[in-house]
């Protein structure tokens, strides 16, 4: 019975986090895009960009709503489903959790103001200024919550005595060795995903209804952001791999099916394992793993066999890692190609195939985020606090957790479906071009009206 509840506890949490990750990523990534569009719109006095900010923020509200409620769910589940974990770790991680709520509070306040004050300021820059606390709050809440995850991977900032954490230094616990690479990767991938989504939407609209000025501008702006952040994100991925090689070698070894410690280790792409753990049908990149891990083609990389069997993560993470990295490089490729075509006049950057790739990139970006998190979380099994507490010691023993899984599953299905329906209604029934037209119409009516009075 005890084991059974552990499995269900994992499933409840995994499902909630998996669902939340989609909206949390949007929550961090999209505000920056809104802010950028509005800023450019005000500076260039170009209504297209203002409209972009308006439309994006309208859609953003939906994702924020679902993000808030799933975030509330996950924060409560920490105690409800993992009571022993919180009893032990609460002493150490309370500070970042507390600060995360503050950051989120800050964001929530200014987002509310931003959304309801479009017409209330004489100077449009005042309204734009409201995006800054939203972007900062969203980014900071990601930073703080990622430090909690960093702590669970690389616990530090305490002494362990009689099954308790004592002499706690909360700040040092937040700044564990895992924190920097994690925060860097989480932020860069969130901005990349936000831009990839909006670029994908623009590409999709052009494919369906032909080129329009609005979508062309949106696509170009977002592709520039994609290019920038896919570069940054590749760097962040590299930093993360180097961190793993040094501090969590079993996670990297599991991702690469690297069993024996050796120098000049190969990077293995895809393939499968037979019963004897031999790798079949994989693409071997000679010595690249050593390079990825230490920046040196002949460095020694620790193999998985160095770790006791019951402390080895699942080997399935290999596929998660490979697909995540592939998706990352794909974005680098597409955005590079797009701008090559923009500057090389003979080619059309609005080529059907490029647009299709960009449109496909939107779901792929989310897949990449999910795979990355699955890799990070499954890769540290069996630990919940690496080296200190195993997952099965932390879970609730209440059998009700199984039924709750289905309740939450139902909830997420409903929330997911309703958000898709609402977003469809919001954007399909009200295309950007039509909105632009009514908008300029109204603006010119107003000015002629004013003209008559003066």
């Amino acid at each position: 019975m005890g084991i059974d509840t552990v499995l269900w506890s994992k499933l409840v949490t995994g499902m909630t986090l998996g669902f939340h990750a989609i909206f949390a990523t949007l929550g961090v990534g999209i505000p920056l895009m809104i802010s950028l569009a509005e800023f450019i719109g005000i500076r260039k006095k170009d209504l297209h960009y203002i409209l972009m900010a308006k439309r994006w923020s309208r859609g953003f509200v939906i994702s924020v709503a679902v993000g808030v409620v799933t975030g509330t769910a996950i924060s409560l589940q920490l105690s409800l489903v993992w009571p022993n974990f919180m009893k032990l770790a609460g002493n150490v991680i309370a500070l970042p959790l507390f600060m995360e709520v503050f950051a989120f509070f800050f964001e929530a306040i200014f987002l509310g103001i931003y959304l309801y004050t479009w017409e209330r300021f004489k100077n449009p820059m005042m309204h734009w200024l409201l995006t800054i606390p939203v972007v900062v709050g969203a980014g900071m809440s990601a930073v703080f919550i990622t430090t909690v995850n960093g702590f669970m991977n690389q616990p530090g900032g305490f002494t362990f005595e009689g099954g308790q954490f004592t002499a706690v230094d909360p700040v040092q616990a937040m700044l564990s060795t895992a924190t920097f690479s994690k925060v860097f990767h989480v932020l860069s991938s969130a901005y990349l995903t936000g831009a990839a989504l909006l670029a994908g939407v623009a590409a999709f609209a052009i494919l369906r209804k032909g080129v329009s000025v609005y979508h062309k501008k949106a696509l170009k702006l977002m592709m520039a952001v994609v290019l920038l952040f896919s570069l940054v994100n590749t760097l962040a991925g590299d930093v993360s791999a180097k961190f793993l090689a040094e501090h969590q070698p079993e996670k990297l070894a599991a991702a690469e099916w690297h069993f024996e410690t050796e120098s000049g280790a190969d990077l293995i792409f895809l393939g499968w394992l037979n019963a004897e753990h031999e790798i079949i049908g994989a693409l071997h990149l000679p010595k690249f793993l050593s390079f990825l891990a230490f920046g040196d083609f002949n460095a020694e990389v620790t193999g998985l066999n160095e770790f006791p069997i019951d402390e080895q993560p699942s080997l399935v993470v290999h596929y998660f890692f490979d697909l995540m990295a592939t998706i990352g490089f794909l974005f680098l490729g597409i955005s590079f190609l797009y701008f090559l075509f923009v500057f090389w006049k003979k080619r059309n950057e609005l080529n059907k195939w490029i647009l299709r790739m960009i449109a496909l990139g939107a779901p792929l970006a989310f897949l990449g985020v999910e795979l990355g998190w699955f890799y990070a979380e499954l890769g540290r099994q069996p630990w919940i606090i690496r080296g200190y507490m195993r997952v099965e010691e932390a879970a609730t023993t209440s059998p009700s957790v199984r039924i709750l899984f289905f309740f939450f599953l139902l909830l997420y299905i409903v929330l997911g479906t309703v958000s898709v329906l609402v977003l469809r209604r919001m954007f399909y029934n009200n295309p950007a071009e039509v909105e632009m037209e009514t908008w300029t119409q109204r603006a010119s009516d107003k000015s002629t009206l004013k003209g008559e009075h003066t």
Partner: protein
Amino acid sequence: MMNYELIGISVLWLFLYGYIIIASIDFGAGFFAFYARLTKQDHVINKLISRYLSPVWEITNVFFVFFYIGIIGFFPETSYYYGSAMLVPGSLAVILLAIRGSFYAFENYGSKHNMVYLFLYGATGVLIPASLSVALTLSEGGFILKQGETASLDYWALLSSPLSWSIVGLAIVSVLFISAAFLAFYASRAEDHAALKLMRTYALFWSTPTIVIALTAFIFLGQHNERHFQNMMDLWWLLALSVAFFMIAMWLLYRGYRYGMAFICIMLQFFSAFFAYGIGQYPYILDPYITIQSSVTSSSMGFALVVAFIGGMCLLVPSLILVFRLFLFDADYVKGNK
């Protein structure tokens, strides 16, 4: 040497109080919107409700998370007992909050006139306070079964206890009372006379059950937890103050003027009762398992949390003032001209 446990519990109690007030406005509004629809008066108050609540619903939610994260931060032990025991009612509350929160956003985009939506909005407004109030009942002790390392909720004891039902009842009627009084005040600011008339009637109607059930719950508390009851009796002056504020509020509502003052009196009424309740429970967080001294976090974490709290407040208080100025005290916005 500072007492982090005292600072912690006072801050949290204050936040819980804040949550109760602003969440009540929100939850009650849901019920009234639904009820008004049933009685075909929805056109009178719907605009009023959405105008105030839309910009602030997210803030309401954060208040709740804030309290919850605060309590496990200052008192990590609580998460073990409450976490184990509240698995079902807590998850239920989360699901209801999720339905409510997300439909708030969806509502803006066309489902406003949907009966199913309005029903969910109204029903969650009553069910969420009911499920959350279980935590308050639990703290009185006697509802948790402990077998070896496993703590679980004794459902039979909970469901058969008059105390738990009276607390649920009190939670629901107070929500409706606070909400009606606030919306009456908001309507008076908006100079929306039809809405004001309706909300004033609701507020007057819900005042009687509020005070009756409060007294009932107090008597049942005496039967269930002698210690807590006696402690509250020692604070009789706070309870008397609470009743006095209630009388003033009723007088103002009945006479039909100075609705802002009436709402402030109601806030003070709940404030004094709520603090009498909290001080009376001292030093227990969960009778008899957790006292605030036994479960307090390490002093370095306590210090860090207090620093973070002060820093956070320096950001939040001005921002909240800005929100209130823009959406609550800006006469033009309230009247719907902006």
